[in-house]
Symmetry: C2
Subunit: 273 residues, 2 copies
């Protein structure tokens, strides 16, 4: 199995602290030695750094820890290969352009019968179940909506329905973003924490590192971190329920779908903005 | 204007030497301070590193110089902005998936009336003439060929025709690749050199650095470098003619189209392989 890390924030924020703990699982405290990647959205642009080597040994991973890239949305992944060889083409996150936006995707889990998921518009470059499922997901959304739909809830409902379909094929924990929204879908394991004023201290579970967020934030900052397993040992992380889709923007949950298809919009969210 | 750098090789080869000279033009010996990027194809996979800051000051660029990534095909670009702000979304190279392959593109020049180039399948993420032209190019190829055509010459002919159309809108020097072939199209300025046994020494024009290729190669290596301006001052670079398209594979020219549409295939090339 792989591990996922995501971030949504209302101000450009670096992920150095969380990523430092996370990458220790890439061949250090964890067994995920088969590559890693991290994607950043910055001012409407997108870039990712991917390496098919263990993150603990990677000079590129060290650069990411030392060179704070400030972003509203981050998606990261460390891999323990099950389907597909250890090579760059199979290294998450994957990306495709849809509706003039760079969509980014990372998956934790394993699917059965994924080869028969129908594809439209997008084709996999590598040979993993994960990338095939991504191409299926994007192709289905694009087939249903040839432009970004006026009503976001309709698109989110379609996304939740597609995620539920993929969950029926096995384990499908997902991070997905178009740079504005971060979508997190839980099949078996995802946890999240939202940090806001008054900020406190946090210490990593996987490395000897603490941070006092008061020293790195302003009172209006809201930063949420989502990960397969909680990354800190002194904070209360919330575990998502199987079948739950959360829609994040600016560090806060904008909408929530549960396994029965129930939908809730958080107060103050303008559904047509 | 921007500057372009490309490489095609028959063995995985690092581009550290050429890139070291090239990046000095990014705010050092040259005026191209508005970002840079470099893309590598490795074992069917693709990754790029892009930064909207000057390459001479970039810790990511230093990493690329110090961390030899070995590749068959490389495309790099340093930018002096004309159309579109200095930001990540406008930083070359650009990439899109077509036919299950990651296509990569970098452009030097400026186009008139590019806004009316028709788009199909692909939409720009940023707001440059370059990315719009890329989306036009890819969309036109995909519209004509819904799968990789049996006859490569037919696709190359279509690509040359589209490049000629873009050249009529202004200046359009191009590097394009699908990871197997490297396409170089000259509108005003591109030069190339092919290095093979017996290898000699080379010294950079833009930085105090020399290399003795004998120490870094085997007798069967063939490595070609293509750049806006020659990067070394002691070798004979060949300048391309306006309207010329070269198709590179494994470090050698496989086919050549000139401005009048004449087409030549090099001896030994198997046109249907």
């Amino acid at each position: 199995m792989c591990e996922l890390l995501g971030m949504s924030a209302n101000v450009p924020t670096d992920i150095c602290f969380s990523f430092t703990g996370f990458l220790h699982r890439g061949g250090g405290t964890g067994p995920h030695r088969d590559g890693w990647g991290i994607a950043f959205y910055e001012e409407g642009g997108y870039r990712d750094f991917r390496d098919p080597h263990p993150s603990v040994d990677s000079p590129i991973a060290r650069l990411i820890c030392d060179y704070p890239i400030k972003s509203h949305v981050v998606i990261s992944h460390i891999r323990q290969a099950n389907v597909g060889q250890v090579r760059l083409a199979n290294t998450h996150p994957f990306t495709r352009e849809m509706w003039g936006r760079p969509w980014c995707y990372a998956h934790n889990g394993q699917l059965e019968g994924w080869e028969s998921l129908p594809l439209a518009f997008y084709r996999p470059i590598g040979d993993t179940d994960s990338e095939h499922a991504f191409c299926f997901l994007m192709g289905e959304l694009r087939r249903r909506f040839d432009a970004p739909p006026q009503s976001r809830e309709v698109m989110w409902g379609a996304l939740h329905e597609l995620c539920e379909r993929l969950r029926r094929l096995g384990v499908f924990n997902l991070l997905l973003s178009d740079g504005e929204y971060l979508y997190t879908y839980c099949s078996t394991k995802l946890a999240h924490i939202t940090r806001r004023a008054p900020f406190g201290k946090a210490s990593l579970s996987d490395a000897e590192l603490s941070v006092n967020f008061v020293e790195h934030t302003t009172p209006n900052d809201i930063v949420s971190v989502i990960a397969t397993e909680p990354l800190t040992d002194n904070e209360d992380w919330i575990r998502m329920a199987p079948g739950e889709l959360l829609v994040w923007k600016d560090g806060e949950i904008q909408a929530r779908f549960n396994a029965t298809g129930n939908f809730a919009v958080t107060a103050g969210f303008n559904s047509t903005s």
